[in-house]
């Protein structure tokens, strides 16, 4: 077995690395095609994935828990294969394998030194739970429960649940709910812990839905029915194999949970919509343990929308019938550069109104440089090049068929086509030292980015950057570069369509620091958006919080858009957590103010547990 730990360039201690786990659950999906932690796939509890082991090691090394039976099992189940290094380095420049090794060492040393193994005993409730789901799928062992104490929201205080249970059927869920109601036990549903507001952590019982991974295609009705444990990434993969596409958010997000919480949104929402546009039906277990589905007349009307913060959940979503979308073989991605946000906004509005393009999104230089760069250092260098040398502070990502791309060309907008994007991406290291960039900037003097219209510029661009997987992979840890070279030789890794469908890069945004997004639905009104952007920035600056423009995607024929603004913070710094909480509060107040003032602005927190609503009810009521 290859052990990567000692050869790593990463200077962080295992404890520091463990404390910096972003809890994105990306190690639970095979987004690089390099495989997923085998023990995780077998045992299913998050504790057996790298993310769980990171939390477990942090708890052990920080003396928060003792070594338990499950702890030995979890540590022993890691074979130090290094797959998590590939994945975590790709996203966050972190090397978890050394944490895995430290965990093993910690447990082995503890045992060698005669340490007492803490035995967890089944109490009456746990025995009842096990009767429902089977012995292997419920536990109160601290080594498991502690790994459910975090979710994506690092601003919520961690909470260790008393029990974790993994049901496999809706009937089991129904029985569990009835049991918990009878015993007045608090229970919380958890997908992959992608909730930004801390609603996937609680005391009491955590119901982890990850075993429920059924996927049933109904192609004649353009539908796929999924269980609540199916991730966006896995379903997209299955759909793509059959020649379809789904609208999917974060790749590790579980689709049912995603719809439930706030609805699915992506750059494809320009065409595929949001909220109820994305599914046909869904099944639930309500708070009494009874089943209902949305197509029953007697069911609660989840298609409605009420402007209430933190509305109660309608129950547990146990399946959803997701819409499948057609795909044509001429789809391509392009990047359209802009000097100002206003110009970019005008462009996406125009495209959206005219139905040009399948997916549209404005991103800033911070976003694009972070997505493309394999390391933090390089991202910062590349951002400066984009802004200062190429004069590209804004880019619009467009996915469209040949007619859409041709229309944009006819509209007169210069753009980086798919081939140039590939050159740019794999040639990023050359960009850092390219003397000719100053000239390119001067070429834009008369007409911004007009060099992109020069017939052979793409060829010269490629010659100048000498892009290659080898060049790109030279930027990463030396030991990982052969893997990266092989990875970036794969066509999809530089394919804008694939990258937008699977969104594997988006979590790179949290590489420098975890982030808290402010999400708003609002009209594509340049003044309003600039106003929000300025005010978010001022709020963040007042509290010393790093911040940046996230993205904007038009929806509903350009009548509205989704706007994300991001705040970055160190969740190991209690002072910074206090400040980010303040920023979150003030940002929400700002959104509330505008909501009242304009009647057209809706803040994301108000959508919580209303993800099944019709978008019209959300946007226009």
């Amino acid at each position: 077995m290859q052990n990567f730990v000692n050869k790593s360039d990463d200077k962080k201690t295992p404890y520091e690395t463990a404390r910096n786990c972003r809890h994105y659950a990306m190690c639970k999906i095979d987004f690089l095609g390099s495989g997923v932690c085998e023990s995780g796939l077998e045992k299913q509890f998050v504790s057996f994935y790298p993310q769980g082991r990171m939390i477990l090691y942090e708890a052990l090394a920080g003396n928060k828990i003792s070594v338990t039976q499950k702890c030995i099992e979890i540590a022993g189940s890691c074979n130090l294969c290094g797959k998590c290094d590939y994945q975590c380095y790709f996203l966050n420049e972190m090397r978890p394998t050394k944490v895995m090794e430290a965990l093993k060492n910690h447990v082995e040393t503890y045992i060698k030194n005669g340490g007492k193994i803490k035995l967890s005993k089944d109490d009456d409730l746990l025995a009842e739970i096990k009767k429902i789901v089977g012995d292997n799928w419920a536990t109160n062992d601290e080594a498991i429960t502690v790994t459910y104490s975090h979710d994506l929201s690092a601003i919520s205080d961690p909470k260790v649940p008393d029990y974790v249970v993994m049901p496999n059927t809706k009937e089991e869920i129904s029985s569990l709910v009835k049991l918990f109601n009878k015993n007045k036990i608090t229970y919380t549903i958890r997908g992959n812990g992608q909730n930004l507001l801390g609603f996937a952590i609680n005391d009491g019982v955590i119901i982890d839905l990850n075993r429920m991974k059924t996927i049933e295609f109904d192609e004649k009705n353009w539908l796929v029915k999924v269980g609540p444990g199916v991730t966006a990434f896995d379903l997209q993969k299955q759909a793509q194999k059959r020649g379809y596409r789904i609208n999917a958010s974060e790749p590790a997000a579980l689709l049912c949970a995603n719809i439930m919480c706030s609805g699915i949104m992506s750059t494809f929402s320009t065409t595929y919509g949001i909220n109820a546009d994305n599914f046909i039906n869904a099944e639930f277990v309500n708070h009494s343990g009874s089943l209902f589905n949305l197509n029953e007349i007697s069911s609660p009307n989840l298609y409605s929308y009420k402007n209430l913060q933190h509305k109660d959940s309608p129950g547990i979503c146990v399946s959803a019938s997701i819409r499948l979308h057609p795909v044509t073989d001429d789809e391509k991605g392009i990047l359209v550069p802009f000097e100002t946000l206003n110009n970019a906004l005008d462009f996406i509005k125009d495209c959206s109104v005219r139905h040009i393009g399948l997916a549209l999104g404005i991103v800033g230089a911070e976003y694009i440089s972070t997505f493309l760069s394999p390391t933090k250092k390089m991202a910062s260098e590349i951002k400066n090049i984009f802004v200062d040398k190429l004069n590209i502070p804004w880019l619009v990502v467009v996915i469209g068929d040949k007619y859409a791309i041709r229309s944009i060309s006819e509209m007169g907008f210069p753009f980086f086509d798919q081939n140039m994007f590939k050159s740019l991406y794999l040639g990023l290291p050359s960009l850092k030292t390219a003397q000719w960039l100053d000239l390119v900037k001067e070429l834009s003097d008369d007409e911004p980015y007009s060099y992109l219209k020069v017939k052979s510029f793409a060829e010269l661009f490629e010659t100048a950057l000498s892009p290659s997987p080898r060049l790109y992979s030279q930027e990463v840890d030396k030991e990982l570069s052969p893997f990266f070279e092989k990875l970036f030789s794969r066509q999809e890794m530089t394919d804008l369509v694939w990258l937008n469908m699977y969104r594997i890069m988006s979590t790179r945004l949290g590489r420098k620091k975890p982030f808290l997004p402010a999400l708003i639905y609002l009209p594509i009104d340049n003044d309003l958006i600039n106003d929000f952007s300025d005010k978010f920035r001022l709020i963040a600056e007042k509290h010393g919080i790093d911040n940046d423009f996230g993205f904007i995607t038009p929806i509903d024929n350009g009548k509205r858009c989704i706007f994300e603004y991001d705040f970055f913070y160190d969740y190991n710094d209690p002072d910074e957590i206090q400040r980010i909480r303040q920023v979150a509060m003030e940002s929400n107040m700002l959104i509330d103010d505008y909501s009242v003032k304009t009647g057209t602005v809706k803040g994301h927190p108000y959508v919580l547990y209303q993800g099944f609503c019709r978008k019209e009810n959300l946007l226009y009521s």
Binding site: W436, E442, D445, D446, Y451, V454, F457, E459, L460, T463
Partner: protein, 390 residues
């Protein structure tokens, strides 16, 4: 130390290319200069001037300079009343060198604002200061298009190559009327294309003549890198190779509309001639600081090949054939030189009667290989201006 009996000059554009070189030499000659300029993003006007004087090696002259934060678009140049009055009482001459030199049509509004609309402030200042002379730095190309012999008189041209020329012609007329009305002597100094110092090669700006050279050098470097480090697949595809003498053969056909000249003067000539005009002419007038022996792009191309160890550059006069197949280097180079193309094969001849009289027949040097080499080597040394201040 300021020279006795030398007029006090109010100078705009002192941080620009021509203005800074003019300021440096005038300071060396003992003039006192009031610099009317603006604080930059992270640097005060005084810091900017101080940095420039350091570059010219005349830090000692800083006490001859009075730096005044001024906004030419504002009433009283945005200067507080008391200070404005004080400046009016000391300024003897105005040299108006500030200008937006962009050729871009998309920047028309900005260029016209800077070069035409903003004149009022500095003209009013000249009147209020009761200056005896207003010296305006214009361009030889106010003559416009369609003219072959350009006299040293106000331009009545109706068509221009770009907005810059148009704005300068409009400015000349406005200034002329104003000065006439207010009995201020006026000299209009019209340089052609200015490059660096013919002796040292030093320059603060690297556009105009430099731009095509820099573009060609960049394209050369891209293919050299391809040949040396990446197997030269792209280079070979386009017939680019390193020949037996170690020269890069890079086919670069440059089409220019017709035969013609490239009228360039070095900045040291510009400065010396301008100072002579300022010091010698009591009546004012219009002066062409142009070259009686202009060079051609064929000569510049030859110099470029020699210096950069390149072969394959071809200057072709006449229209570009339809459906001409161009290699990527040619396509990009064409785009690079587009704004400068009208100046690269120019048929205009410039009258220099006034200039010769005012400058005691001072003439710019012929553009030799040595001058080219000195100027380009300096440009490369300072990375075309990127590392000029270290």
């Amino acid at each position: 130390m300021a020279g006795k009996n030398k007029p006090v000059i109010a100078l705009t554009g002192a941080t620009g290319f021509l203005g800074s070189h003019l300021m440096a030499t005038m300071l060396k000659k003992g003039y006192s200069i009031i610099v009317l300029g603006r604080t930059a993003k992270n640097e005060s006007l005084k810091e900017r001037i101080s940095r420039l004087l350091q570059w010219f090696g005349i830090d000692r002259c800083l006490d001859q300079v009075t730096c005044i934060d001024a906004d030419l678009s504002q009433y009283n140049l945005g200067i507080e009343n008391k200070e404005y009055s004080r400046l009016c009482s000391v300024a003897d001459y105005v040299i108006h060198c500030a200008s937006d030199t962009s050729f871009s049509e998309s920047k028309r509004e900005k260029v016209m604002a800077a070069n035409v609309n903003n004149l009022q402030g500095i003209l009013e200042f000249s009147k209020n200061a009761n200056v005896s002379f207003f010296h305006y730095i214009s361009t030889a190309y106010v003559a416009g298009t369609g003219v072959t012999y350009c006299k040293e008189i106000l331009s009545s041209a109706k068509s221009f190559t770009n907005v810059y020329e148009e704005s300068k012609a409009a400015a000349e007329n406005i200034i002329s009327l104003f000065c006439q009305k207010n009995s201020i002597s006026l000299s209009i100094i019209r340089p052609s294309i200015v490059y660096g110092d013919s002796q040292s090669g030093r320059s603060l700006k690297f556009n105009a003549l430099y731009f095509p050279i820099r573009s060609a050098q960049s394209i050369r470097d891209i293919y050299l890198n391809d040949l040396r480090n990446n197997g030269g697949i792209k280079a070979t595809k386009n017939g680019i190779y390193i020949d037996k003498d170690g020269y890069l053969f890079l086919p670069l056909k440059i089409y220019l509309p017709h035969e013609g000249d490239l009228n360039i003067i070095p900045v040291d000539y510009f400065v010396n001639a301008t100072i002579k005009i300022i010091e010698n002419c009591s009546q004012g007038g219009i002066y062409h600081l142009t070259n009686n022996f202009p060079t051609t792009m064929k000569i510049v191309a030859k110099y470029y090949e020699q210096l950069m160890k390149v072969r394959g550059v071809e200057i072709i006069y006449g229209p570009q054939p339809d459906n001409l197949l161009r290699n990527p280097a040619e396509e990009l180079f064409d785009r690079f030189i587009e704004p400068y193309r009208p100046y690269l094969s120019d048929n205009r001849v410039f009258d220099r009667t006034n200039t010769s009289l005012a400058t005691d027949n001072l003439n710019p040097p012929e553009f030799t290989y040595d001058i080219f080499k000195t100027c380009m080597e300096y440009a490369i040394e300072v990375n075309w201006g990127a590392s000029i201040f270290g």
